[in-house]
């Protein structure tokens, strides 16, 4: 319940993905992954600037980031990156009106044509590809794969 006169739910309403299907969940994940990737991007630009401190500075940075925690964070970043990219392509096509259906005379039970199987497949594909990429990244970072 909000106490403001406009009766807005606020950030809680924006991030609550329940009751509206996978598209709303994808919207939330897109926002979270975007913010996460921006934070990582800034950190990545900073950490790679350590190369200017020579071999010692670089090795120090590598030692502090190539840890178990570092690998797990990087795996999450990999997942975010893949999800954001694949879902972003789906969203961009949707924004252009691609795959959202064609207007017709509506008939009961009024299922929305824009919430169709094509976009649902796009969302699930993004999630699955992100999971696969995360597993691959973890396998590489923990030495299972080269």
């Amino acid at each position: 319940m909000t106490n403001n006169s406009e009766n807005k739910k606020g950030i809680g309403g924006m991030i609550d993905p329940r009751r509206y299907g996978i598209e709303r969940i994808a919207y939330l994940l897109m926002r979270l992954s975007g913010l996460g990737l921006l934070v990582y991007f800034i950190a990545h630009i900073y950490e790679t600037s350590k190369i200017l401190q020579g071999q010692f500075g670089w090795n120090e940075m590598i030692a502090s980031t190539q840890t178990t925690h570092g690998h797990i964070i990087l795996a999450i970043i990999i997942g975010m990156c893949v999800f954001h990219t694949v879902n972003g392509i789906r969203v961009m096509l949707g924004h252009g009106g691609v795959g959202v259906g064609t207007p017709t005379r509506p008939d009961y039970p009024y299922s929305p044509a824009s919430q169709n199987i094509k976009h649902k497949i796009g969302i699930y594909s993004a999630i699955i590809l992100a999971a696969i990429a995360m597993m691959y990244g973890l396998a590489v970072m923990f030495g299972e794969l080269k």
Partner: protein, 255 residues
């Protein structure tokens, strides 16, 4: 939360079945003297066909006459009875208790609309945003002055926009929209869908005018295709489709 047991003694021609009952929680809030919502609970008998609106009116009839609720047609034509039912914006007259699959039904006023009292909300903002997109045919000539009697349209041309003309301005889409949860200036899915309704109408010549209106920092670009508006629309308007088709014009996917 206040519990009120039993039915008031009252003559009624409608026999009330007590085979099944649910707990109806109604949000009570008067902005004049309340600081926050309170919920009152009522035990209401229902049948397979009983709608949430009927349950609310049952409360008004037998338990609490002061419950403020807006309703009119009872057949999902007028759009008056929009409210949050178990957390999702729905029309109370169009939602059967039996389809909610819950023993507890919670009804609250639609969010993103200022509350008048209890379940009744103000619609000024919806009317303002709707008005902003110029929801009427824009062209220089009229059907009175042209040589032909009226502006003819083929069935295919009508098919392009008829779906979006089904909008009953119930506001459920604006309530469900995640952007409207935080953005007070967002035009909203209802207005954007109506903008597309007129842009897609072959009789209309105001496409550029409308596209310019919605091309602002709180216009069409704050829609992120979450699709919640289409999920809750009771008339099959599918505002999300209209908005993306409209955006297609601005991105060059459509001309």
């Amino acid at each position: 939360m206040t519990q009120i047991p039993g039915l008031a003694e009252e003559h009624t021609s409608t026999p009330l079945s007590s085979s099944q009952s649910i707990t109806l929680r109604i949000a009570k809030y008067n902005p004049v003297h309340d600081t926050e919502k309170k919920f009152m609970e009522f035990n209401i008998p229902y049948e397979k066909w009983t709608t949430v609106l009927e349950a609310i009116l049952e409360v008004k009839k037998h338990f609490d006459h002061s419950v403020a609720v807006r309703f009119s047609c009872r057949q999902a034509s007028c759009g008056s009875c929009g409210m949050l039912i178990n957390g999702k914006p729905r029309l109370a007259c169009f939602t059967k208790i039996s389809e909610l699959n819950s023993n507890i039904i919670t009804v609250e006023p639609m969010n993103n609309f200022p509350i008048i009292r209890d379940l009744a909300v103000k619609f000024e903002r919806l009317f303002d945003t709707h008005h902003k997109v110029k929801p009427y045919i824009i062209r220089d000539d009229t059907e009175i002055t042209t040589n032909t009697k009226e502006f003819l349209q083929s069935p295919e041309e009508v098919e392009q926009y008829i779906q979006f003309s089904n909008c009953i301005k119930c506001g459920l889409c604006n309530s469900a929209c995640p952007t409207m949860a935080t953005d007070s200036s967002f035009v909203g899915p209802q207005a954007l869908a109506q903008a597309y309704r007129y842009v897609a109408d072959s009789r209309d010549k105001g496409k550029d005018v409308r596209l310019k209106i919605i091309d602002e920092s709180h216009g069409i670009w704050r829609c992120h295709f979450a699709g919640s508006c289409s999920q809750v629309c009771p008339k099959g308007v599918d505002p999300a489709m209209g908005i993306q088709l409209l955006r297609g014009y601005m991105l060059g996917f459509r001309s």
